[in-house]
């Protein structure tokens, strides 16, 4: 059965609620170990691995979930087995093998060479097979990873939203934030369920600010949630969203020169640099005239604020929520 990250336990619809506790019970089995996360080596290794995975994702046009899953495998692997920094080919082999395993779990056809198009040399199938087996035994064949996506439906159900369009808007935004959160090493220490809950809270704060407190209460009353952990994670994510807005403005300003490579470069600079320096570094990198940037930023934020407010007032008639972000883009 292929893996659906939103439903890794393959729960049949009518049984979802019986198996929620199983999700919470075993989520920790699918996380990277905490000790690993504190090392500097881990951070640079991970950054390198994510860059390679995203490169393959762009060049093979892979589904986001495949790369997400591959990163989960890489994280868990490097937190259990030491990957020597001085041998970069090992990391590349690890990345290719994790991508291959992820694609197989998602039932996507591919060939090993697809993942190595941009490489100087190509690993032979046998070497990749060996690596796959090593990864499988290291992860104890727990390849149906429980990720934040697994909890999104459950938390949304706690909100008791009546309008499917609102549900979709909330889910889409939370999904986007979960993808972003992957690249923040600070967020890696939180359980998948906490990441999902925080992403939904951030999304609801943006989309339905008036309902935020009732959403928060609903999530907080969930017996599986550790309140302190949720608060901490939420704050880290909030910070990430603030930075995302800065980033977004730059994107808007330089969209004509945007290529996957420069997106990657900027992205990684962003995730390592001190948060307060982010804007400066980026600004220096792209040399944007100051006035231009501020104007763009203002108009974005104003537009977004009025959009959120109008939603908050409950003017839901004929709102095409999925079209809303596009309207923001058009104002760029």
């Amino acid at each position: 059965m292929e893996l659906d990250l939103e439903n890794p336990l393959t729960c049949v619809e009518e049984e979802q609620y019986d198996t929620v506790s199983a999700l919470f019970d075993s989520e920790s089995d699918h996380m990277a170990s905490q000790i690993f996360l504190r090392s500097f080596h881990a951070e640079s290794l991970r950054r390198e691995a994510i860059a390679l995975i995203l490169q393959a994702q762009y060049s093979c046009n892979l589904d986001n979930f495949i790369s997400y899953l591959a990163v989960n495998y890489v994280d868990r692997f490097i937190s259990k087995k030491e990957v020597p920094e001085e041998k970069p080919w090992i990391l590349r082999l690890l990345v290719i093998s994790c991508l291959s395993l992820a694609a197989k779990m998602k039932k996507i056809d591919f060939s090993y060479s697809d993942f190595q198009r941009d490489e100087g040399f190509i690993f032979d199938a046998q070497r990749i097979q060996r690596m796959e087996l090593l990864i499988l035994s290291t992860l104890n064949w727990r390849m149906r990873s429980i990720t934040p996506f697994s909890f999104v439906y459950f938390f949304i159900s706690l909100f008791e939203l009546k309008d499917p369009a609102l549900t979709k808007a909330l889910k889409d935004r939370a999904t986007e934030l979960i993808f972003k959160a992957r690249d923040e090493i600070k967020l890696l220490e939180y359980k998948p369920s906490i990441i999902a809950a925080s992403a939904l809270l951030c999304a609801s704060y943006e989309l339905f600010p008036l309902q935020f407190s009732s959403f928060k209460a609903a999530i907080s009353s969930c017996e599986y949630i550790n309140q302190e952990s949720l608060n901490n994670c939420y704050h880290v994510m909030e910070e990430m969203v603030t930075n995302e807005w800065d980033e977004y403005i730059f994107d808007a300003a330089v969209s004509s020169t945007k290529t996957p490579i420069c997106v990657l470069d900027r992205h990684y600079k962003n995730s390592v640099s001190e948060k307060s320096n982010t804007a400066n570094t980026l600004e220096a990198a792209i040399k944007l005239p100051r006035g231009h940037e501020n104007k763009a930023q203002r108009s974005q934020i104003q537009h977004f604020a009025s959009y959120s407010q109008s939603l908050g007032k409950g003017r839901r008639t004929k709102y095409d929520l999925s079209a809303a972000p596009k309207r923001i883009t058009r104002n760029e």
Binding site: V12, S111, W141, R142
Partner: protein
């Protein structure tokens, strides 16, 4: 694999040999199931990957035999996979046999039948709630811990992605006794009902200490079923006569089911009849079975 000391071969599972073995360091007794891994140009076969990881996930339940770990090994250049399972001392087939055959033939205690059936339904409900059918439930696949009175489902998942196994890995004929009529009649759209039919047959077998429908071919198997439950009609089971392997059969009238399981009380007979409904959509689900009055006298807090 040096970690384990093979003690004895305990069987031929549907997909390969099964050994009883001992973990040399911990002393834990385990069951090793050896499976050939057919590697192709694209590495670990995707089906094996998906199924073993599915098994890994399902074996979190108390009522499914726990997969402790998976080891791979190259032997003469061929890759093998060893699935390391917890070991239970017997299976339900041997357990029923020990109650039927000398030196000590005796009925299984009704409370034990009730408890085993409950655990079986729990395990089946667990699999079904995850969208997984077992498709080959039979007493040999149900492992039993005699001391603790525990029953667990084994031989789950592997190689079952598409079809009901017809021939085993070792070309041993797969038993038909527990096979649902819709499968015997060639239906391709079967569902959770196939497992519930098997559960019903196993329930009756625990009571009778012999199989309810011991057919030796698909045709004979159907006749066994029809003789007891009556030849199915379109009214009873809409669509039956359009199934691929439907023929004209002798017309039998349904017999009294209670007579086939004389020592079973009325609640038990009622539950059994709901598991053996012809129309798969009318067959009781594992989850609903857990709430059947037959289990009212069972102390469910222990599960």
């Amino acid at each position: 694999m040096d970690k384990y000391e093979k003690l004895e071969k305990v069987g031929e599972g549907t997909y390969g040999k099964v050994y009883k073995a001992k973990d040399k360091t911990s002393g834990q007794v385990v069951a090793l199931k050896k499976t050939r891994l057919e590697m192709d140009d694209e590495g670990v076969p995707p089906t094996a990957l998906r199924e073993v990881s599915l098994l890994q996930m399902l074996s979190q339940s108390l009522y499914v035999v726990r997969l402790l770990c998976v080891e791979h090994l190259d032997k003469n250049g061929k890759p093998f996979l060893y699935l390391v399972f917890e070991y239970l001392d017997t299976d339900l087939k041997k357990f029923i046999d020990s109650h039927r055959k000398p030196p000590n033939p005796r009925p299984m205690p009704p409370a034990l039948i009730q408890s085993f059936l409950y655990q079986l339904c729990k395990g089946v409900a667990h699999c079904h709630s995850h969208g997984v059918l077992h498709r080959d439930l039979k007493p040999q696949n149900l492992l039993v811990d005699k001391e603790k009175g525990i029953l667990k489902i084994a031989d789950l998942g592997l190689g079952r992605a598409f079809t009901v196994p017809l021939k085993s890995y070792t070309h041993e004929i797969v038993t038909l006794w527990y096979r649902a009529p819709e499968v015997l009649l060639g239906s391709t759209h079967y569902s959770t009902g196939v497992d519930m039919w098997s559960v019903g047959c196993i329930f009756a077998e625990m009571v009778r200490r012999q199989a309810l429908f011991p057919g030796d071919s698909e045709f004979q198997q159907l006749l066994h079923i029809f003789r007891l439950l009556g030849t199915p009609t379109e009214k009873q089971w809409p669509g039956v006569s359009s199934l691929r392997d439907w023929h004209v059969y002798p017309q039998w009238e349904p017999q009294n089911l209670a007579r086939a399981v004389p020592s079973l009380g009325p609640d038990g007979v009622d539950l059994l009849s709901k598991m053996l409904k012809y129309d798969p959509s009318e067959r009781i689900s594992a989850k609903a079975a857990l709430d059947h009055p037959y289990f009212d006298s069972l102390d469910k807090s222990q599960f």
